[in-house]
Symmetry: C2
Subunit: 187 residues, 2 copies
């Protein structure tokens, strides 16, 4: 889904600045999507050119230059249509699994360190999602994403705990574990 569409959706929840939308992505969308300022601001510009949103400047009050965007009726209709047509899909991008894929090329101590690092990230994200569970005002759909996110993270942590030692043991005994430093050469 294009960042443009995502911005339009964000504005369907209420008026917001580009900065506000970024914060929404960092908070509510945290565990399943992200977008940078470099895509948000140009998106808002295009949305306005297309008549999907309008903006007024809130100046003077606190900070200057607060461009508060609002979705138009036409923009709202467009978002609804695009949303209904968006296929349900997911794509994981895991540097962690790339590391595991090539783990036989790494020293065991580095592998150990990467596993610990990933575990820490998982725990941190689980904590975050658990803190979100406490909050009120969530729709049932949002609760579903949080609940699913928590279940997945618990599964990942469990998997890590149950297979960590086995992995490390077989990594240390892997064939070629000496060939990392000396590649085919008999120094």
């Amino acid at each position: 889904m294009r960042v443009k569409t995502l911005c339009l959706g964000a504005l369907c929840l209420g008026d917001a600045t580009g900065y506000d939308i970024k914060k929404l992505f960092e908070n509510a969308f945290n565990h399943f999507h992200s977008a940078s300022f470099g895509s948000i601001y140009p998106s808002l510009k295009k949305l306005e050119e297309e008549g999907h949103v309008s903006h007024r400047v809130e100046a003077g009050e606190k900070h200057p230059d607060r461009k508060l965007f609002r979705v138009t009726d036409e923009g709202r209709a467009t978002f609804l249509a695009q949303l209904a047509q968006t296929p349900a899909s997911e794509q994981l991008r895991s540097e962690f699994m790339v590391l595991l894929f090539f783990a036989h090329l790494l020293p065991t101590e580095i592998l150990q360190q990467k596993l610990a690092e990933m575990e820490a990230h998982y725990s941190q994200e689980l904590n975050y999602l658990e803190s979100l569970s406490g909050c009120e005002g969530h729709t049932s759909g949002i609760d579903f994403t949080i609940g699913m996110g928590k279940s997945v993270l618990r599964t990942k942590l469990d998997y890590l705990h149950h297979h960590r030692e086995t992995l490390l043991a077989s990594h240390q005994n892997r064939p070629d574990s000496q060939n990392i430093r000396q590649t085919e050469s008999s120094s």
Copy 2:
């Protein structure tokens, strides 16, 4: 991790063409990474300019124009160093969860359809990973990624099965469910 680095890693497993590398990403990396031809071919070009890989043309045999790439000693060392420095991290991009986040704006039947669609994808990917488990010749690291992938997919399917009906029920009873077609207007 840059596609350039990923290509270098792929070539550390054996000589390959750009096409072969794409196939590797589609098969072995399937559940945790992807890359398109539009990034692979330019990456190989740059890697060669930098002296990390070399190539020879395999012509005549079957198809013409098979550019078979091979990593140089320097390229292998570079990849090992970059791999060890890569932080363990993961990023999910889920259109499915975006749909759930905005589910209150959709008719219940569409939501139902999206849930079914996602379930089908999960099942399909689980089947694929289970077929990979049967194969031999995997390092312990690769087995770990497959095992973790399977566990996560089973958790997602379980979550879907256990919360589907509850979500659908509360979606049908959500406030504003009539306001989707008629926005504040009393036609």
